[in-house]
Amino acid sequence: MNWWLPPQASTFAPSIDLGFLVILIITGITFVLVEVGLIVFVIRYRQRPGQKAHYTHGSTPAEVIWTAIPAVTMVILGIVSNGLWVKIKGRNSVPANAYTIGVHAKQFEWWITYPGPDGKLGRTSTSLIQKTTNPTGLDPDDPASKDDIVVRNQLHVPAGRPVVVYLSSEDVIHSFYVPQFRVRQDVVPGLEIKAWFEATVPGQYELGCSMLCGMGHYKMRAQVFVHTQADFDAWVAQRASQAKGEGTS
């Protein structure tokens, strides 16, 4: 098995992995320092006849040093992490050219809506949700919803283009998680939450629910397909014509 983080498949992955590595190095040094120190002390200062412990109540310089070093390290770590955080989750972080996808979560499936040729997602409303005929509650009166494609448990995204997913939940809190993209965002009923990412490597991945959402939580899984832009366009066109065919028949 893989003893490191999963393969990288989005633009976030390298920077998040770098953050992970940096923290691992910082904590690793501390870890070695403390554990080796403990072992050395345990061996060196074990009880021996005639030995008397050194009577001291502490040392202010030493304590100042080991207060200041962690404090400075942590503040620097916080500032650096915050830059990345704002880039990923900040309010205005979604790039303007992002492709919009709607993700609707319900116990225990994902319904993915693609905007079709007009590039706009139709309006949705929880009151319109019908279990089989309208699982995401698309409003048929909205012109933008006419060409929308709704697919169950399949997330198709183009590589090399930012994608913003509009997350909505019908019942409980779910969590949108694609490990290879390093993206996680809870899906909270009553809130519309945006999450964006840019896939880089075409291939097949998995979308999982990472928030306990009921007894079927473990099987709330969807396939993620990262296509090249051309393949993606072809897929959308194919699905659109398929949907049209179904609509007219």
Binding site: V86, V172, P179
Partner: protein, 588 residues
């Protein structure tokens, strides 16, 4: 006037003519209540452990019939194969029992009760009857929680954090009565905890023996005192939230119901506003007791006593403003996320002070490796790992990847098992003579420590690695996911280690019960410690002291120059010591 009252009160220290029931069951004696809490919480520790073993079976061997699983009813495990709905009950109840009824009761219920009066030189708690009420409401709460596992549709199923709307709506969770009983039990638990806390705080503030100034208190008492403040102020918030949840389940209110304007995130804010101070409730007393044991085992004064106290206070203060780090990916306002990240990272500072000061205490010491000392060193080593892995979660971008994975599971177990539980094993051995008048077996205590240490690390360290692989929490069957199929051998290894870990606890169990009746009789001061409790016979009589002890110094004066032994009890008067000023007689 005060002398009259004092005479009336000190009288009961001498003769003890209480009936058996008043003495051992509905007792108001803090030591008996502490021992009652010990039995209660060890029972719940066992229950939580049994639940954990079932979880590990399912994760290691998904879909295979569990040995002994056929004893479970069809609704849980038909043919011994655990069902998904039973699995999430296991996960929920394991968390609930361990956090609330095992660790919290073990630390706060047992040791705050047992140690505070003994170590500060008080007769008893300030309010003995309220103390008794606190114990019995904890019992009631525990019974309700246990009962919830036996109702027709099973126990609560929304994880120990009870995130709404899953926990609030029976049509979504599949459990009605079980969920309601969870809320009722937590409300009762909140009552018990508040009653206990107000007792501890009052006692520490007002009932210290003459000479026991604030900065002569042992660090265990400092930690328990600060913990009591955290509990006093945090637990009512949980009780309020649980009441709202109960109303949501029973009366159909809309606090957390988004369809009627309620907010799902409100629960998370309330829960974690309680929940993060709770995390420190679960670790601070352990830190305090470990400080006592390390100073004793090193035969050296604690390194930097004052900064240890301030670190405890600092952790407790920061504990109030970091709860949002449980909610980084919850859809919370991202700006709030940034501020919570900074405050969370700052917690590393007081934690580092504590770890380095413990090491400073051991430096140039004369280390005695008795069982409490071994467990205390184990605590420092393991808490360091748990604390360091917390930094990964505190950094928001990294948290986005590892949140809700086994990395978090590893982190919490390193802190609560590797941290708190090792401290508890040490504390049990350390104060066992004071409780029962007999020593626990040193040899078997060491065997237990080493086996636990090895299997514990084999169980929880690999969880970091499967968490890095992206293994989500609370999955009934991880092999559903293609990317998790390769980690299955690791899961299997974890499960075997967990079984071995559980089995090694049998040594502790036997040692505990055997020593209680057959153990070697305890000498007056078995660890050659300075604390006030060791000036009393073991077990200490009702009312503790006939004449109040007088305290001349801090609790960590080991190996002081000019003293023949390497310890110097707090009550021992040296020619240079002055009598402490008593409470001024003529008005303040």
């Amino acid at each position: 006037m005060s002398t009259v009252a004092a005479a009336a009160h000190t009288a009961h220290a001498h003769h003890d003519d209480r009936s058996f029931i008043r003495k051992y069951i509905f007792s108001t004696d803090h030591k008996i209540i502490g021992i009652q809490f010990l039995f209660l919480s060890l029972f719940f520790l066992l229950v939580g452990g049994i639940l954990a073993m079932q979880i590990r079976w399912q994760l290691g061997f998904p879909g295979k019939p569990m040995p002994g699983g056929t004893l479970l009813p069809e609704t849980m495990a038909p043919g011994g194969v655990i069902l998904p709905e039973y699995y999430i009950q296991l996960v929920t109840m394991h968390g609930t029992f361990m956090v609330f009824f095992a660790i919290m009761l073990l630390l706060v219920g047992v040791y705050a009760n047992f140690l505070i009066p003994l170590k500060i030189g008080a007769h008893d708690m300030a309010f003995p009857r309220i103390n008794m009420a606190s114990f019995w409401s904890a019992v009631a709460s525990g019974i309700v929680m246990l009962a919830s596992m036996y109702v027709p549709d099973g126990a609560a199923r929304a994880g120990w954090t009870m995130y709404v709307p899953l926990s609030a709506r029976e049509d979504l969770s599949g459990a009605a009565l079980g969920q309601q009983l969870w809320s009722v039990s937590i409300i009762l638990f909140g009552l018990s905890s508040v009653l206990g806390s107000l007792n501890y705080i009052t006692t520490v503030i007002n009932n210290r023996a003459p000479g026991m100034t604030w900065f002569r208190m042992p660090l265990s008492i400092w930690a328990l005192f600060i913990t009591a403040i955290l509990g006093l102020l945090a637990v009512p918030v949980l009780a309020g939230a649980a009441i709202m949840l109960l109303f949501e389940q029973v009366l159909g209110t809309h606090f957390f119901d988004p369809a009627s304007g309620g907010q799902a995130l409100l629960w998370q804010h309330l829960f974690w506003f309680f929940g993060h101070p709770e995390v420190y409730i679960l670790i601070l007393p352990a830190m305090g007791m470990v400080s006592d044991m390390i100073a004793n085992g090193s035969r050296k004064p604690i390194f930097g006593y004052h900064s240890m106290v301030f670190a405890i206070c600092g952790i407790a203060f920061l504990g109030w403003i970091v709860w949002g780090h449980h909610m980084f990916v919850s859809g919370m306002n991202p700006t709030l996320g940034s501020s919570f990240m900074v405050s969370t990272l700052l917690i590393a500072v007081p934690s580092a002070i504590k770890v380095f000061n413990w090491m400073g205490t051991m430096w140039r010491g004369n280390l005695r490796f008795h069982v409490p000392m071994l467990n205390a060193i184990g605590f420092v080593a393991m808490f360091t790992i748990g604390g360091l892995s917390g930094i990964f979660m505190a950094a928001t971008p990294v948290d986005m990847f590892i949140h809700d994975t086994y990395f978090i599971v590893a982190h919490i177990h390193y802190v609560l098992f590797g941290g708190s539980l090792f401290a508890i094993f040490g504390a049990i051995a350390y104060w066992f003579p004071k409780m029962f008048g007999r020593m626990m077996s040193e040899r078997w205590g060491k065997v237990h420590f080493w086996l636990t240490m090895v299997f514990y690390n084999c169980t929880f360290f690999p969880m970091h690695i499967i968490g890095m692989a992206g293994h989500m929490r609370r999955l009934y069957d991880p092999t559903i996911y293609d990317f998790l199929k390769p980690v299955q051998p690791m899961n299997e290894f974890i499960s075997w280690s967990a079984f071995a870990l559980f089995a090694s606890q049998a040594i502790f169990f036997v040692n505990f019960w055997w020593s209680m009746f057959k153990g070697e009789k305890a000498p007056l001061n078995p660890w050659e410690d300075n604390g006030l409790e060791w000036t009393l016979p073991s077990p200490a009589p009702h009312g503790n002291w006939e004449t109040p002890p007088t305290v001349y110094r801090g609790p960590y004066e080991f190996s002081a120059p000019g003293v023949s032994e390497d310890y110097l009890p707090q009550t021992k008067k040296l020619p240079t010591d002055r009598e402490p000023a008593l409470t001024p007689a003529g008005g303040h």
